[in-house]
């Protein structure tokens, strides 16, 4: 046993040392921001503190769903600013969990494209500020797929040589959107007949999939495991960065417009500081970091105009214009239709 005793002793000493070195929070003006890791510059919070004197702390979440669950169960206590995708803003607003924005305290909103003020889930940006936006479409290996895909049906009813070399997103809204768009329906439909038709199409499509994949689809393209994947445009760019033969296309039936936004929680005790943070993020140079580093488009006009044209050449989907984006249908909260919708998704995912 003494092997273990010594081992345990070593662990304990280590822990004690660590516990002592964990510093406790200080009392100065402070805001907490929850975001995906790596979705903003590593030194952004430091710069913000340097400029405003407000301490900003970073919390991380893995998915929209998780931060939603946490905010709903915990009433948002402890958080000041959240990064969430557009369909969730509507729900948060209806649940009374986000604060109305005081535009006078966020002067840099002037940097946004005018189109950004017309987003359906939050017209006039009363409660949210868009951070990044984009489309969902097909990401494929030019060298392995010919002719190039043009329609959602190329994904859902692939040619024989693509069978088993395709992945789709399994997050409910985007999974269903592929079928809805292919069938000319609204991506926000909860109509029973539409759901049924989409379900049949997706169950049939499932047989030809390599897998569902929301996280590593681009590396499957790089390794050649998959030839075509259902992807968010910005995320497809990671594949393009590794292999220039990877291309992105918005199918002819159209795409959805997704927007990652920033909201201030209703529970925030430092709303003015939170507004200052939003304003800081909207600065052109901060906005420009996003397309230059994580290859997502931003609704920040000043930032996009400053973008290196070489990047747009390498990653063409960075060049999609705001007007093109706004022509895509936007994902909305499904409200009471959610029950029927999620049962349909379960049926698809559970089918053989």
């Amino acid at each position: 046993m003494s092997t273990l005793k010594r081992f345990a002793a070593a662990c304990l000493v280590g822990t004690a040392a660590i516990a002592v070195s964990v510093t406790t929070a200080q009392a100065e003006e402070k805001i907490v921001i929850s975001n995906w890791d790596g979705y903003m510059p590593a030194d952004m919070l430091e710069k913000f503190t340097a400029e405003t004197g407000i301490v900003a702390e970073m919390a991380v979440h893995a998915t929209n769903e998780e931060i939603m669950g946490k905010v709903v169960a915990g009433k948002g206590k402890g958080y000041d600013v959240l990064f969430v995708s557009s369909p969730f803003v509507e729900a948060l607003n209806h649940l009374g969990l986000v604060a109305e924005l005081d535009h006078s305290k966020i002067p840099n909103m002037a940097n946004l494209y005018p189109q950004a003020m017309e987003l359906e889930y939050d017209p006039g940006l009363k409660v949210s500020v868009p951070y990044a936006w984009g489309t969902t479409g097909l990401c494929y290996r030019e060298d392995l797929v010919s002719p190039a895909p043009t329609s959602w049906m190329d994904l859902l009813e692939p040619k024989a040589d693509l069978k088993g070399k395709i992945t789709m997103l399994s997050t409910d809204r985007w999974l269903m959107a592929a079928a809805f768009l292919a069938q000319g329906k609204s991506v926000n439909s909860t109509d029973e007949a539409d759901l049924e038709a989409a379900k049949d199409l997706l169950i049939a499509a499932k047989k030809n999939l390599l897998s569902y994949d929301d996280t590593t689809f681009y590396s499957k393209l790089v390794s050649g495991e998959a030839s075509m994947v259902h992807a968010w445009d910005g995320w497809c760019n990671y594949g393009i960065g590794e292999n220039a033969a990877i291309k992105y296309v918005i199918p002819k039936e159209g795409s959805d417009l997704w927007v990652d936004t920033m909201v201030v929680t209703a529970a925030s005790e430092n709303k003015d500081a939170a507004f200052k943070f939003l304003d800081f993020v909207l600065k052109a140079e901060n906005g420009a970091w996003v397309p230059a580093n994580i290859l997502y488009k931003v609704p920040n006009k000043a930032a996009m105009e400053a973008l290196d044209p070489a990047l747009v050449t390498q990653f063409p989907n960075l060049g999609i214009t705001p007007d093109e984006l706004l022509s895509q249908e936007q994902l909305r909260d499904l409200g009471a239709g959610q029950k029927a919708f999620s049962k349909t998704v379960t049926e698809i995912l559970a089918s053989n």
Partner: protein
């Protein structure tokens, strides 16, 4: 039994099997160690050798503080759960009672993590408990108790309780009896329970996420890693895991050496 050192096929087969099981357990670890030297940031594709991720890890304050938090949570919750769970196991086996209690003890294993996570967060919110590392620890202890208790009880089945009375009879107090008689007898079970508990706690994500306070000071490593999914789980994490493996491995081997020397010397 040892006297006969004859050819024993069962023994050979067992030894071979054990080696294979260790190979099975360590092959993926080998893969992630190799990937920690991967040049590109892709989680599953090899694209050239590089040390850069170790350098980036050293600079990544978020990952390092998350690793620290994880160890704090795992160690403290393991100590608490081992203590409470072992006592509970002894109490249950000694008294041989409580089908109801047995059900409650199964519960933390069966209840889906997400349910326990939301339940605890709702409960803490209701009581207006400030969240932080401490609330993760409180929550991890819940399911760890169940696992420790199960392992220790396994050990205690058919334990000869008369040694307990024998010790009292010889003048020992119950505390002394616990320390000198019961504890040594169940120690392998307690150690097994503690290791189980530590391992579960180090890797637990959902409950930790929901019961954590907002901010870096209560972000654990799994939370940090899962939050990287969207923009790529970089080989930094593999580098981190490789270091953890190497350090723990060295500790175990060193402890084993010291142990051997103290036995022979």
């Amino acid at each position: 039994m040892r006297e006969f050192k004859r050819f024993d096929p069962t023994r050979l087969w067992l030894a071979a099997h054990l080696r294979l099981v260790y190979v099975f357990l360590y092959v993926p670890i080998g893969v992630l160690m190799v990937l920690s030297f991967n040049k590109a940031g892709l989680p599953t594709v090899w694209s050239g050798f590089s040390f850069e991720w170790y350098g980036k890890l050293a600079e990544n304050a978020a990952i390092l503080s998350a690793a620290r938090n994880t160890i704090v949570v795992a160690v403290i919750s393991t100590i608490l759960a081992t203590l409470i769970g072992s006592l509970l196991a002894i109490g249950m086996e000694y008294r041989r009672r409580g089908a109801g209690l047995e059900a409650i003890l199964f519960a933390p294993m069966i209840i889906p993590d997400i349910v326990l996570a939301i339940a605890l967060l709702s409960f803490f919110t209701l009581l207006e408990v400030t969240l932080g590392l401490h609330s993760i620890i409180l929550s991890h202890v819940v399911f760890n108790i169940a696992f420790v208790c199960a392992v220790v009880r396994t050990r205690l089945r058919s334990f000869d309780w008369s040694v307990f009375e024998a010790s009292i009879d010889l003048g020992a107090t119950e505390i002394t009896t616990f320390r000198r008689i019961i504890l040594p007898a169940i120690l392998p079970g307690v150690i097994a329970g503690a290791m189980l508990s530590f391992t579960l706690s180090v890797d637990e994500f959902i409950i930790a996420y929901f019961t954590a306070g907002a901010g870096q000071s209560s972000t654990t490593l799994p939370m940090q890693i899962y939050s990287m999914i969207r923009f790529g789980v970089t080989p930094e994490i593999n580098a981190m895991a490789s270091i953890v493996m190497l350090v723990s491995f060295t500790l175990v081997i060193a402890a084993q050496r010291i142990n051997k020397e103290s036995v022979t010397g």
